[in-house]
C-alpha cells in the first residue's frame, strides 16, 4: 500500500510565553498528536479555543505562527519528512503541495491588487503553468465555486465583492495550484449563517470535484459534520477522540465529545404573555452624518422577567436597537417606555434610576472590564454608585454576587487578566446584577465563548432570571441560543423587524421568506443535512 499523503507522529509543539513581570517560560501547545490523512479524504479537526487545532493544521506545512516551534515528532508529507526541512525546500512545498485558507479572507487579500492577480500568484511563482493557463484555471474554479460572473470577477478588487464571495475566491486561490492538501482554518466562522451555507456547499463541492485532501479546522461540530469524512476531537493539545463522522456525532465514546454533541440540547419552556416592562414604539434611528435609517419603525414589547431574543445577521440593526434603548443613540422618531415611564431619548436626560434599572452585558468581556481594576472594584462600583454601600458592607455584597455567579471566594482581588473567558463574562453579569436592574441587555454575550462555556453562561442567566425576576433583551445571531433562552423572538433584517411574537409562534411555519432562509441555514448535526437543504432550495427556486 502506498504511503498516506500526510502522516504526523508524536507531534510536539512549544511556544514561549512572556508573562508580565516574570521570566519567559516555555509552554507546550501540542502534546504528541498522531494523525494520518489519505489522499482525497477530509479530516475535521475540532476543539475549543486553545485546543491546538490551528497549530496542528499549520504544522502540515511545517509552519508555526510567530514564536511557535515544532519541537518533536515527525511530519511526513508525500513520503518526505518536512518538520526539519530547510527553508528552501519548504518554500517549494508550500503553495504547491499544501495550501491554506484562512478565517478572514478580508484580512488576507491585498486590498491594492485585483483578485485574479492574487489567485494565480502561487501558480506563477512556482512556475507551474503559464499566465493564460493559470487564469483559465482560476476562471474554472470561480465557476465551480458558484461565484457570479466567473469570467470577470477576477478583475475586481477585494473590497468590491462580498465577504462570502471573497472567502470563495480564497478557496479558489488555494485550489489553483492543484495542491495535494488544503488546510481550511475556520473558513466560514466569520460569515453570517445564511452566507455560511453557500460557502460551505461550494467548498464541499470543490473538494469532491478536485479530489484534493483537506484538513478542516473549526469549533462547530455541526459544520464539520457536513464536510469531513473523519473527525478528530482535540482538547488542550491532546487528541480526545478520532472516528468516522457518523460515529462521532451519533455514537461518541468519550465524555468530552458527548458534551460537545449535546451542547445544543438546552431547551427552555416559554413563559405565557405578560404586561411589558419595556415598550419600544415605532423607533427609527440613524447615525449622525449618514443619510439612511439603521432602525426602521421598530416596535417591540418585553414582559417583566422574560426574555426577548433579537435575531439577525450582522448589519441588521440589532446592536443599534440596544444603543437606542440605552440612550447612546437617541432615536429620531418613536418612543421608549420603561416600567411605566417614558425614557428620555438622550442619555443625559435620564435619571439615576433609569440608568440603574437598565444594565448591559457586552460581547467581549475582555474590553468590557477595565484591566486596571480588580474584580472587587468592578462589581463594587455600581453598589457604591447606586446604593452608597461602603467598606465591609460593600465587600459582603460583592461576595454575595460572586457566589451568585458561582465563582466563590478569592476572586475579589484578582484582575481581569487573571480570569478565564467564561469567568470574565460571569463577572460582567455580576456587575449588571449589582445594580438590581429590571432589564439586562445581553449583546451577543456568548458568541465569543467556546460552546461548553457558553452553555454554562446561558444556564446561569436562566437561573438568575428565575431568582431576580429580571428581563433580558438578548441580542444574538445564533438560533440555537435563541431556542435555548427566549420567550419572545424578534427577527431583524436590514433595520426592520420582519417577524415578531412568542417563541412558539415565530418558530412555527408558515414562515416569511427571510425567517425561512435564516432558520434553514443553521447547520444541524446530521449527515447529509447540507445536501438536503441545497436540494430543497434548488427545487423551490425551480418551482417559482
Amino acid at each position: 500500500m502506498a504511503d498516506p499523503l500526510l502522516q504526523i507522529k508524536g507531534l510536539v509543539i512549544e511556544a514561549t510565553s512572556y508573562p508580565p513581570g516574570e521570566p519567559p517560560k516555555t509552554v507546550t501547545l501540542v502534546h504528541g498528536v498522531d494523525l494520518t490523512l489519505e489522499r482525497g479524504r477530509v479530516l475535521g479537526l475540532i476543539g475549543e479555543s486553545g485546543a491546538g487545532k490551528s497549530t496542528i493544521g499549520l504544522s502540515a506545512m511545517a509552519y508555526g505562527r510567530g514564536g511557535v516551534r515544532l519541537t518533536g515528532g515527525t511530519i511526513h508529507l508525500n513520503g518526505r519528512e518536512i518538520r526539519l526541512a530547510d527553508a528552501r525546500s519548504l518554500r517549494r512545498l508550500r503553495g504547491r503541495e499544501v495550501t491554506y485558507v484562512s478565517q478572514s479572507a478580508a484580512a488576507s487579500f491585498n486590498p491594492a491588487k485585483q483578485i485574479m492577480e492574487q489567485v494565480i500568484e502561487t501558480c506563477l511563482s512556482h512556475g507551474l503553468c503559464s499566465k493564460a493557463e493559470a487564469e483559465a484555471r482560476a476562471r474554472g474554479l470561480f465557476r465551480k465555486l458558484g461565484l457570479p460572473n466567473p469570467d470577470t470577477i477576477g478583475n475586481r478588487y477585494p473590497h468590491q465583492v462580498s465577504g462570502g464571495q471573497l472567502q470563495r475566491c480564497m478557496t479558489a486561490m488555494a485550489l489553483c495550484p492543484k495542491p495535494d492538501l488544503v488546510i481550511f482554518d475556520e473558513p466560514t466562522t466569520a460569515l453570517d449563517v445564511t452566507t455560511q451555507i453557500d460557502v460551505l456547499a461550494a467548498i464541499k463541492e470543490a473538494i469532491r470535484d478536485t479530489g484534493v485532501a483537506a484538513l478542516y479546522i473549526t469549533h462547530d461540530l455541526a459544520v464539520v459534520a457536513q464536510v469531513a469524512d473523519e473527525i478528530m476531537v482535540l482538547r488542550h493539545g491532546r487528541m480526545v477522540e478520532l472516528g468516522e463522522t457518523g460515529q462521532i456525532i451519533h455514537r461518541p465514546v468519550q465524555d468530552y465529545t458527548k458534551a460537545l454533541v449535546s451542547v445544543r440540547g438546552l431547551d427552555h419552556a416559554e413563559k405565557p404573555p405578560a404586561p411589558p416592562v419595556l415598550q419600544v414604539q415605532n423607533v427609527t434611528a440613524r447615525y449622525r452624518g449618514t443619510n439612511f435609517d439603521v432602525l426602521k419603525n421598530v416596535s417591540i414589547d418585553l414582559p417583566a422577567g422574560q426574555t426577548l431574543a433579537v435575531v439577525g445577521e450582522s448589519g441588521s440593526g440589532k446592536s443599534t436597537l440596544a444603543r437606542a434603548i440605552t440612550g447612546l443613540l437617541p432615536p429620531s422618531q418613536g418612543r421608549i417606555t420603561f416600567a411605566g415611564r417614558e425614557l428620555s431619548a438622550d442619555l443625559a436626560g435620564r435619571t439615576k434610576d433609569d440608568l440603574r434599572e437598565i444594565q448591559m452585558i457586552y460581547q467581549m468581556a475582555d474590553t468590557a472590564m477595565n484591566p486596571r481594576q480588580t474584580v472587587g472594584t468592578i462589581i463594587g462600583r455600581p453598589l457604591e454608585f447606586y446604593f452608597g454601600l461602603k467598606g465591609a458592607e460593600r465587600d459582603r455584597r460583592v461576595q454575595e454576587l460572586l457566589d451568585q455567579i458561582e465563582m466563590g471566594k478569592g476572586f475579589a482581588d484578582r484582575y481581569p487578566a487573571e480570569l478565564s473567558g467564561g469567568q470574565k463574562q460571569r463577572v460582567c453579569i455580576a456587575r449588571a446584577l449589582a445594580a438590581k436592574p429590571k432589564l439586562i441587555i445581553c449583546d451577543e454575550v456568548t458568541s465569543a465563548l467556546d460552546p461548553l462555556v457558553a452553555d454554562g453562561i446561558l444556564k446561569l442567566l436562566l437561573a438568575l432570571q428565575a431568582q431576580e425576576h429580571v428581563a433580558y433583551l438578548f441580542i444574538t445571531h445564533d438560533l440555537a441560543t435563541v431556542k435555548a433562552i427566549s420567550d419572545k423572538i424578534a427577527v431583524m433584517f436590514k433595520g426592520a423587524v420582519v417577524r415578531y411574537g412568542q417563541k412558539s409562534d415565530v418558530l412555527t411555519p408558515p414562515f416569511d421568506d427571510y425567517t425561512d432562509l435564516l432558520l434553514s441555514s443553521v447547520p444541524e448535526m446530521e449527515l447529509g443535512w447540507l445536501e438536503q437543504v441545497i436540494a430543497h432550495r434548488k427545487m423551490e427556486s425551480a418551482g417559482n
Binding site: T16, Y18, L328, L355, R356, M364, T367, A368, R381
Partner: protein, 271 residues
C-alpha cells in the same frame, strides 16, 4: 526581566544628578558667588574643574546649576503634564466642540515655534523663576495634550468606558479612574523625554540671556558666561555643556527602558 546595562547606567547617573541637585548646599566646595580664584584657571587641587570668567569655582557652580536647572525643568514638565494630560483626556472624553476648540487652540500654539513665543513672552513679562516655569510649562503642555488625547481616544471607545457612561458616571471618574490608569505607561515614558526637552529649552533660554538670571547659576547660563574663553583655548564652557548632555542621555536611557517594559509591542514576543 533582567535590567539591561544601559538602563542601569541611566538610573545610576540620573540618581546621582538628583542627589547632587537636592544636596547642592552641602556638597559644593565653594559658595555660589565666591570669586576667590583667578580668571579661567586650569584644573587644580583647589579648583578641581578650574574657575570661570570672573574666577568662581566651576565645580561649585555646576552643582548649584544642577539644582536650578533640574528644579525648573521638573516643575515645568510637571505643569505641562498636569495641563496637557487633563485637557487631552477631557477633549477625548467629551469630544464635539470642546475637542475641536482645544485641539485647534493647541494647533495654533504649535504652529508658532515655541522658542520665539517664549522669547516674546519673557521679554514682556518680569523675569523670575515662577514666570519661567509657567511659560515653559504652558508651551510644553501642547505636546503632552497631543499624546494624551491620542492615547485617551483609543481608550475612550472601549466597552468599559461606555459601561461607566451608561452607569451614569461623571467626567471625573471616567478621566481619573477609567482612562488615566490605562494611559499611565506611555505618559510616564513621555515624561522622561519632555523633561529632557525642558532641560535643553531652559539652557537655550539662559544662553540667550532670557532664562535664569545671574547671580543664580544654571548650565545654559554658564555656557554663555564662559563662551568667550573658547577662543583662548579655555575649556570652561564645555563643562556645563557636557553636564547637559550627560543628564539628557541618562534620563533618555531610563525613559527608553520604561517604554520597552510597559509597551506591549516591544516588551513581549521576540524580546
Amino acid at each position: 526581566m533582567r535590567m539591561p546595562l544601559s538602563a542601569l547606567i541611566g538610573l545610576v547617573l540620573t540618581g546621582t544628578f538628583l542627589f547632587i541637585a537636592i544636596f547642592a548646599q552641602w556638597i559644593a566646595p565653594y559658595p555660589l558667588d565666591d570669586s576667590s580664584g583667578g580668571q579661567w584657571e586650569g584644573f587644580s587641587a583647589a579648583h578641581w574643574l578650574g574657575t570661570d570668567t570672573i574666577g568662581r569655582d566651576i565645580l561649585s557652580r555646576l552643582i548649584y546649576g544642577a539644582q536650578v536647572t533640574i528644579f525648573v525643568a521638573l516643575a515645568s514638565s510637571l505643569l505641562a503634564f498636569a495641563l496637557g494630560a487633563f485637557f487631552g483626556f477631557l477633549a477625548a472624553v467629551k469630544g464635539g466642540w470642546i475637542d475641536q476648540l482645544l485641539s485647534r487652540l493647541v494647533d495654533l500654539m504649535m504652529a508658532i515655534p515655541s522658542l520665539i513665543v517664549a522669547l516674546v513672552m519673557l521679554s514682556v513679562l518680569p523675569l523670575n523663576l515662577t514666570v519661567l516655569i509657567l511659560v515653559m510649562g504652558i508651551l510644553d503642555s501642547t505636546r503632552v495634550f497631543r499624546l494624551s488625547r491620542a492615547v485617551a481616544v483609543d481608550i475612550a471607545v472601549m466597552d468599559y468606558v461606555e459601561a461607566a457612561r451608561l452607569r451614569g458616571e461623571k467626567g471625573g471618574w471616567i478621566i481619573f479612574r477609567e482612562i488615566l490608569p490605562n494611559a499611565l505607561s506611555p505618559l510616564v515614558a513621555e515624561f522622561g523625554l519632555r523633561f529632557i526637552f525642558a532641560v535643553l529649552f531652559i539652557s537655550t533660554l539662559s544662553f540667550l540671556g532670557l532664562g535664569i538670571q545671574p547671580p543664580l547659576a544654571d548650565w545654559g547660563g554658564m555656557v554663555k558666561e564662559n563662551k568667550d574663553g573658547l577662543i583662548y583655548g579655555k575649556s570652561a564652557a564645555l563643562l556645563p555643556a557636557a553636564a547637559i548632555a550627560a543628564l539628557a542621555i541618562s534620563v533618555n536611557l531610563v525613559a527608553d527602558w520604561i517604554l520597552t517594559r510597559t509597551s506591549s509591542l516591544k516588551g513581549g514576543r521576540g524580546g
